[in-house]
Symmetry: D2
Subunit: 510 residues, 4 copies
């Protein structure tokens, strides 16, 4: 989506990326490179916790990974053969260092660290209960609830405590949890977020958000973590079990549309290829007579290629994005504010001049950027600008791990398509249909439903949303949104399958 | 060229970008945005000098523009209605703050600031002479020579002193010079570097390295600065004259191939379009049977589009570049060094697997990166990899403003094409011909020669190289390189044309 | 004591200084100046929490106050009309930012901040209990226990919860606790640490560690906080009550000897004057024939003046301390290590040459510095060096708020006085007697005992030491130390006396 | 003087301190410690240039030495066995990094670095001449003139060029000049500034501003540099010659009164002892009935001790200075400005209450601080405050190395003593006489005159002041100031005395 690249307020932001490794001499260094491959999932904070079997060491800070670890001493100080790391998108107002993950807690007798990608939908309720019975939270993050639940559990072993806690929280989560003796990975029962297992050439296991992070560190892909799974990795190898049998698959469709890297695969589907198919389907659904196709860089470039190929039109670089990052100042006048926007994106008169342009974007959030881009294209001489969006219109908020929990600024939630067209100043405006999106992703999924969460577009929420229910009550009253019931959870984790290394790549649970 | 993006040692680096404005309330702010658009021309230092008609104020520092001006106070402290700025690529060993431009000198009775894009070929000789007669240099930069020549001149007026100095230095230069009462711009007699005049909506003049910087600040393009021109801008407007009549046009062909932004125009030629034509010509010269075309991001993407369109093959995202910058550490093992490289660029198995790939790059310097990329593509499953380079092979060094003054590490200077192919591991390797390059650029130039400098490829140097002559003597002995004589200079600047604003956009000197 | 000034490892360090104000427009600024006056009590971290009646804002960091608040924006961001602040001495190994106070906790429905001067003697035991019932600590500081106790209390009101918590912790504490609606101050039942109430000219109340901090901000002294008191300050004024009736006064004698500023008064006794009396008494107890008296700057200068006056000898500047602070590097050789020490303190040959010198110090901890100073004096030509220490020898550790919890490196705990004299190389060595110290302080105290804690010197601990009992068991077995029982506490706070402003300065509870 | 400690604008500031060493393995580290001992001579910038016999390496920055070299890599990067360093007081407006010394110049074929303590009185004139013949200055510092004079000299050898330059500049200077092959030290013909030679235990030579810097690094004092001397130190040892025979001794009396450290000796006179004698003489000249004597810390403490001893009165700590440095903010109200002042200095009611106080200060510049201190003392209960100043009143400016070149803000230049008394609010006010000052310093000098510069007090300038003549013309017209003629200089340096190490300490030229 163009918006995020041009203005980073109120846009659609992924909440995080996580990476963990067990048994490597240079665990923190490996995690640094792995997190760099996930930087697109969170740019406002980064941290790594390393484990030297006796003690956990934490380094974290605000800003990009490269800023946080500018001093190489910070990586060097993270001694140990295991590590977990996190890159974070922080919502406004909660940008303190105490919210940067991995969170770490030190007890008199033990230490844990926790990294979380996702969003818990009952965290406020649980936090209130925990605080009422005396717990003190160090952060304002929903993630910390899990640590308190583990600590409060009366179960016998650490793993039993953890399973109890996993069965108490609701919403979207991919967790990595480090103790001095083991690393645990767990995915929520709906599989809202991508989460994969990889293996280094020497056999060490990695668990991380995207396959692109495996490639960077030279690891091969082993398998996707399945909804409801709990994985324990320690010096004895890897053990996979289910902490609940009540699972479905509802991977967030926006991972394919926008969040994930084009070189990542999610449940077997390559993201670049999926986006090309979205572009192709978009053309099939909404062809228009034009001279050239122009994509909004960088995120819409795959879909643009698909559209252009299907249309048989030249795919031209009519918009150029400045790949360097520099702060824009708070500018007092409209003229100077536009300067700040053009700093990031400009139109090329020699490319678009006199042309009928199909402008392909991956999504429209507030519309502000679309409006600006279209004006730039026209100033650069474009004769017509037809906007084609490679995803359906955003009409509803999300609560499973994306920072879009109100719809006040969501253009499509407050305007008809024709109003939107007029506001952004396009000659025509069309969106990919939800069906087209689902078909383009083409998830090799055999279960009930599509395997995808498309609530943003169609209001079908795969589970209740607890703390946020009030946000949707008006829509619910009008029958525009509906909620699948939460699968009934029972404390009946299945038998652990401790997998031999040679078996792992034969796994074909999908 | 891929190399620069992956490893920034010993690659081909542009020396600088410059930007100047006269008569704007927010001159330093405007310059900041303008320089950001030129960041690709120099990432190791940045500076701005502002002028409030009485005093010049300087702020400069090492690193990216955004790092140097992270504290907004630095921009605020640059008061005044005129400013010049500079982004710098610094060669190793001379990375002191004293070399960061604009250079500024304070006399008892006056101040100047100077920003320079290019490289003087007789600076060492001049410096030695000046030092012998008592001058002290504050920097190790060749640029400072001009300041001393002005100061030493016995001519009457400042402008006459400047003209005398401009007629003394040799090599490539686009200069911006600020005094409290005027801004001067001058281009060398060969026009080695791009240099353009623009105008703000309210009439204020800008002179800068690329048209892309005009677009960012909302200025319109007025005209290219011509070789041998001296432009004076002050509160009376703009005055253009020639400080010498002995000029030719020899714009560096690498500006079109690699240095300039795709959205810039140079002498009327859009860079993106020129690169597409290079790709198209490359296909015409060296077609090969293949399934897909993959470009090395970001610099080769325009040429790749041209090749793919001409070939009728899909243009696929088989290589993904991480757009975030983070330092790589000095890694002790080969395995970890490769991790550092993959951090920046990865191949996508789902895109290239089982395919015959045409890999389009813009140039090959040391070959190290090409070798690495080809290996990645093969590991990702590519069946064949045919390398097509959208410029001729680099066989000779450059001395007019690019950091490539020796050929020890220049692959094509030391190996045959077949040796290169074997070293990088390609199935085939072909380069665009020099003729093809010249034709693809298609410069609307009526004078003698091509209007381009192609010395890197063919050894035809458009002027003597003075301080560096020894570097080329062996080649010269073998007749592989030749030098055009320096045009005889005479102190006969033509009559000044003071241009009314309305006339300017009618100028069609080219 | 000389030691701290020359070497800051393993010396005798005060744990902290605190400052709070309610009802001032520039509360954070006032707190900044107040804390600066307390910088001698803690140099390794500083923080301020401000309160704008709705929200608490926290800024804190490692290092000196001036370093933490170098950026004036940090003070500006602390909006509100009330604030508490803290300067901290951090023991090695726990120097993380999470331990810098004021600690702040954010609940769903409320916020507190807490600043603590002192040391809790049962914190480890309490923490273990709290963790076992599910609490998670964010810091390794003993202070945090109080927050958890408040949170866990089943009492009705916040104040009742606080009183319950105050009756649960043991040891030395002066607490300042901020909530959005009130500021609380509480002193332990023994009054180990100084704690005073002051008032601004416009009537606003301040509570802080030393009267010197009142003077800096232009406040007048109102009264010393009494052992066992809980003070609540809010928009209704000040209310003082006792949270326990079981109190004694045992102010740490080292506050008079070394910790407090000479311009502070504690329980009515001016510290400079007390030190002069210590010096005078020291002469009376241990006169020696000499030519001049030299004090170890800066802390021994008051005692030195007292000794010199009593002896009728010239008080000479034979040692000069460099008032500027600069880091010393880790030096590889003995020669260079000595350079690092001389950087801070040098002897003056023209002053001490040929003289019989009485060297007055306030205390001897490890003896290393004394040895070094005596050698410097001899090298500077001193004929004799007679060391006179204005406090008794340290033989036992402390646990009520001073970083001296083992005696391994305590010279007097491991050597006879004669051995000490030989080690440090003095011609004679004498200490002030405990009786002499008590008499010199001359505390206007009518209760049982001396009103002072002199456990360092005589092993009489005014209360049990819980977590640390094992440290002293060998001594206890030999009968060298003894412990007064903890006063039986009952939850019977006395009636609150809400004081009118005009009454406060008439208070004469002492 | 109190003023500098409380407010650092417009006070009396020493211009610099310098330190150089030749032949030590850890030359930069040694220089760091040496400069720290000179920090009182300049707090606004610091720098070191090291010499590894082939190349000079420079590190410098704004602020205190400890801030500039906070990163230990900066010291480590200064490789070499020789080094010179500088601490600087910068006048307002010229606080750029380019003025921080040592200045360094890089020629094509050589490098020098220069550090200067003092002020050249004909620098503006010389600079104008040099600029007119084409020189460009990198700094606004007067020091740089010397480098240009050396460079411009037509003399044969480097030393001859240097001697010619030394004979061209006028005013006060102690220079240290480093080349890759030698270190040079030169003192002006009047000896305005202290400058001493020392020797390390292993024989290496040091030249520095004060003997206190020798003590810190473990060096012994060898001899004072004499007016007109040029010293060359290289691998062959030390060689001392005179670059002019026309010399007198006019050491600045303020070095004894205020600038130098109490533990330094200048021309054989210990500064602390001289100050005690000033205090004693002050009592003899201006006794007053009183109860206690209070000194303004830290600089007046020696004089205070002298006064108190002579008067037989107790020397009490009635004013306490906070030894920690922290920034004060720009405060909007008078009340808050006073807070900022009290942050640095407070009065002690328990010490001064009800007492008749003699307040001893070393000097009065603007009077602002005296006024503030007296008010604080009265608020603290002092019954009477009699101000006694241990130097004569400042009536005239200085031009030989002190930042006091106008008298607009000089209280004694604009008011009678009685007016001053009323303004500052003292019960009485008296100054030491110039004769008393000269007698108290008691310089063992046999030549013409006193050997001291006392122009501040009596208007007798030991030489013309060139660039600044206009400043004094009104006074000169009234006959209040007079100038000794500059000794006629001839280029006749005496024979070099190359001193064997064993001879050096036998030198008794004084």
């Amino acid at each position: 989506m163009a918006f995020e690249q041009v203005e980073n307020q109120n846009s659609l932001n992924e909440e995080c990326g996580i990476f963990g490794v067990w048994g490597c001499d240079d665990a923190a260094n490996l995690t640094y490179y792995g997190l760099h491959a996930l930087q697109h999932r969170g740019q406002e904070g980064a941290g790594i916790v390393a484990n030297n079997n006796q003690h956990l060491w934490q380094e974290r800070g605000l800003g990009l990974l490269g800023d946080v670890f500018r001093d190489p001493q910070r990586i060097k100080s993270l001694v140990g053969t295991a590590a977990i790391g996190h890159v974070r998108y922080a919502t406004a107002g909660s940008n303190g260092i105490e919210n940067i993950q991995p969170l770490m807690v030190n007890f008199s007798n033990e230490q844990y660290a926790l990294a979380h990608n996702g969003n818990l939908t009952n965290a406020k309720t649980l936090r209130k209960e925990l605080e009422e019975s005396g717990s003190i939270f160090q952060s304002s993050s929903d993630t910390e609830v899990l640590l308190h639940l583990i600590r409060r559990s009366k179960a016998e072993t650490f793993k039993e405590k953890l399973i109890e806690a996993l069965n108490t929280v609701r919403g979207g989560f991919a967790f990595l949890l480090m103790t001095p003796t083991a690393m645990y990975a767990a995915l929520d029962p709906h599989g809202f977020r991508p989460f994969v297992v990889g293996q280094m050439p020497d056999g060490q296991y990695i668990v991380t958000s995207e396959t692109a992070a495996l490639a960077v560190v030279g690891a091969r892909f082993v398998r996707d973590v399945q909804p409801g799974e709990l994985i324990k990795i320690d010096d004895n190898g890897i053990a996979i079990e289910r902490y609940t049998e009540n699972t479905t698959l509802n991977i967030d469709a926006m991972e394919y549309v926008y969040f994930a890297r084009p070189d990542s695969n999610i449940y077997g589907v390559n993201v670049h290829n999926a986006r090309k198919r979205m572009g192709r389907t978009l053309f099939q659904e909404h062809a228009v007579a034009a001279d050239i196709v122009v994509g909004v860089p960088n995120s819409a470039l795959s879909a643009t290629a698909g559209y252009a190929e299907a249309a048989g039109l030249p795919n031209e670089m009519g918009l150029v994005k400045n790949q360097y990052v520099a702060r824009t100042f708070i500018e007092p006048t409209q003229e100077r504010r536009e300067r700040a926007v053009r700093m990031k994106l400009t139109a090329v008169p020699d490319v678009v001049g006199g042309k009928r342009v199909v402008l392909v974007d991956d999504s429209i959030v507030r519309g502000t950027t679309s409006k600006f881009i279209i004006r730039m294209l026209r100033e650069a001489g474009a004769k017509e600008v037809h906007v084609r969006v490679a995803s359906p219109a955003f009409r509803f908020p999300s609560f499973y791990g994306v920072d879009m929990q109100t719809t006040e600024e969501l253009m499509a939630a407050n305007h008809t398509k024709e109003e939107m067209r007029q506001i952004i100043g396009a000659d025509s405006l069309e969106f990919l249909s939800t069906e087209g999106l689902v078909a383009a992703i083409n998830l090799p999924y055999q279960g009930a439903g599509t395997g995808l969460t498309t609530a943003y577009f169609d209001g079908h929420y795969p589970s209740p949303i607890y703390d946020f229910q009030a946000s949707l009550s008006a829509w619910e009253a009008r029958g525009e949104v509906d909620f699948a019931p939460e699968p009934t959870t029972t404390y009946s984790p299945t038998q652990v399958r401790t997998l031999a290394k040679q078996d792992l790549h034969l796994e074909g649970e999908q």
